[in-house]
């Protein structure tokens, strides 16, 4: 635990320096960082609105037009959320930007790193390659939804702490969700099995040996719980 805390503390110091430097640069041009971001977002939205305003072949025939907002009921961690989304919104962006569930991470956004792994109907999938609008009738479980109702950690979360199975922590929510799926699938027979069936989750800190240990330990705890 001491080691984790140390890493966390040093990361915070570095993050602080980074923000401070960026802030200084931004104010030199008379724009602070927050306003700069707001300005960028609203600019980015403009072409989209223009596009949806243009009648397409389909809309002139009475059908929907590309980019028209879509209503859906998104079920996440046992709760239903009524959302109106651009059809391009991925499950990952819906979770992070519309529901504030920022546990699932956007690493590569192309299905290569596994940081966005969540469970859909109990199976581990990549939220970055799933369209939110294709989630009707399905339920997503994220890292925010795996702890016990009394607040106690899921055995896999506890095992990752006990085995020091992370350094920076960025890939960890995806690792834990994938690991839970891996155990449920029956693919955590031995260390080699875990390595093969966790190959879809990359860890730049290379905490792999400890991740393998944590999963094997959690497997027993999950069976017992």
């Amino acid at each position: 635990m001491a080691k984790i805390f140390l890493h966390g503390a040093s990361n915070r110091v570095m993050l602080g320096r980074f923000l401070k430097d960026n802030h200084t640069v931004a104010t030199d041009y008379g724009v602070d960082r927050r306003n700069f971001l707001v300005g960028t977002v609203s600019t980015a939205a403009t072409p989209l609105l223009t596009r949806t305003g243009q009648p397409s072949a389909a809309s002139s025939a009475g059908g929907p037009s590309p980019g028209a907002p879509v209503d859906l009921l998104l079920r996440v961690n046992g709760s239903d959320h009524r959302l109106t989304l651009d059809s391009r919104t991925t499950l990952l962006d819906a979770l992070r930007d519309h529901l504030g569930l920022t546990g699932a991470k956007k690493g590569c956004d192309h299905g290569q790193c596994g940081a966005c792994t969540v469970l859909v109907d109990g199976r581990r999938v990549l939220a970055c390659l799933t369209l939110a609008v294709s989630m009707r009738g399905h339920e997503a479980t994220t890292i925010e939804g795996v702890a016990r109702k009394d607040g106690g950690l899921h055995p896999m979360q506890q095992a990752f702490i006990d085995h020091d199975a992370f350094q920076c922590g960025y890939c960890t929510p995806g690792q834990i969700m994938s690991a839970i799926g891996c155990v449920h699938e029956g693919h955590a027979i031995d260390a080699a099995d875990v390595r093969e069936y966790m190959s879809g989750n990359l860890c730049r800190c290379a905490a792999y040996p400890n991740i393998v240990d944590a999963i094997q330990a959690a497997k027993s705890a999950m069976r017992g719980s």
Binding site: L48, R51, T52, S56, A57, A58, G63, P64, S65, P66, G67, A68, V70, D86, S87, R88, T90, D109, H110, G111, G114, T117, R123, R124, V125, L126, C128, L129, T130, L131, V133, S134, R136, G137, S178, G181, C182, E185, H187, R195, E196, Y197, M198, S199, G200, N201
Partner: protein
Amino acid sequence: MRPFIFETASEPQHAIELFDKNGLPAARSAVYLAGGTTLLDLMKLDVMRPEIVIDINALQHTSLGRIEANETELRLGALARMAETAEHPVVKANYPVIAQSLQLAASPQLRNMATLGGNVLQRTRCNYFRDVSNPACNKRNPGTGCAAIPGFNRRHAVLGGSDQCIATYPGDFAQALVAVNAIVELRGPKGIRTVAFATLHRQPGDTPDLETTLLPGEMITAFIVPTAPWMRRSLYLKVRDRQSYEFALASAAVALDMNGAVIREARIALGGVATVPWRSLAAETTLRDKPLDEASANAAAEAAFAEAQPLEHNAFKIALGKRTLVRALREAAALEI
């Protein structure tokens, strides 16, 4: 990603009707969405720009989602997921080359998402195709040239290429299907038809942008694999830059029917080295009525790569492909069944 119209199909005919209603006459801008693992990736890269996306995942509850086996054939619904097919007890026991080709592909998350139909239609991993800042790609923009032929072509094909395109077909499952004479069932605006799986993919020739023989609006509904004496003595061997979660540099799908030490029939397909799922009839012919030993396996490998055309960075694939095939043949012959 560009804006698109999102539609959801409730049953197979509905999907075709949605395509007809929305897609035609601009048929090429409508796509079916299954697992989405290729489509969403390429839409984010701006390589694929559909105006209409028709979600067909609800059809999983029809025959499209089922895996069925009887004494004469295995029928794999096109919306069965890679993971469930790879772990299906009948597929594992009686069609090992199929189970293994799926098991050795992608990552567990991707195998949970990706469907069999989508898997065989996945697009090449050629970096020049995937990078829209590269202007020269005959597959993406016909007539613009090929950046891979004079460029970094280490992962590109040595078999089946043309002076227009050498992009490697990236999949694994398709090699198993083409080796074992699978049939593909298609459904489209003009009805249902079945064709040999071997005729589904097109070599690039002068039209690398046309990758399959699918007609506008057609979707794959099933793969039918006839049972055969060579099926149980089959395997898929895949060689990659790393041990897991990587595309093949060279792979071999082999199936042997043996009478003692002598081969009655061999079925051989190669992956990672060709522009399409590559059946090698030449290699199969050299093995007929021969004992499977080092000499005959080497002769088969020589025959398989006799027409190979290496470029600056991919000549190693010829030696690697031959060794992969030799090892696959010897391992298949040694299987206890």
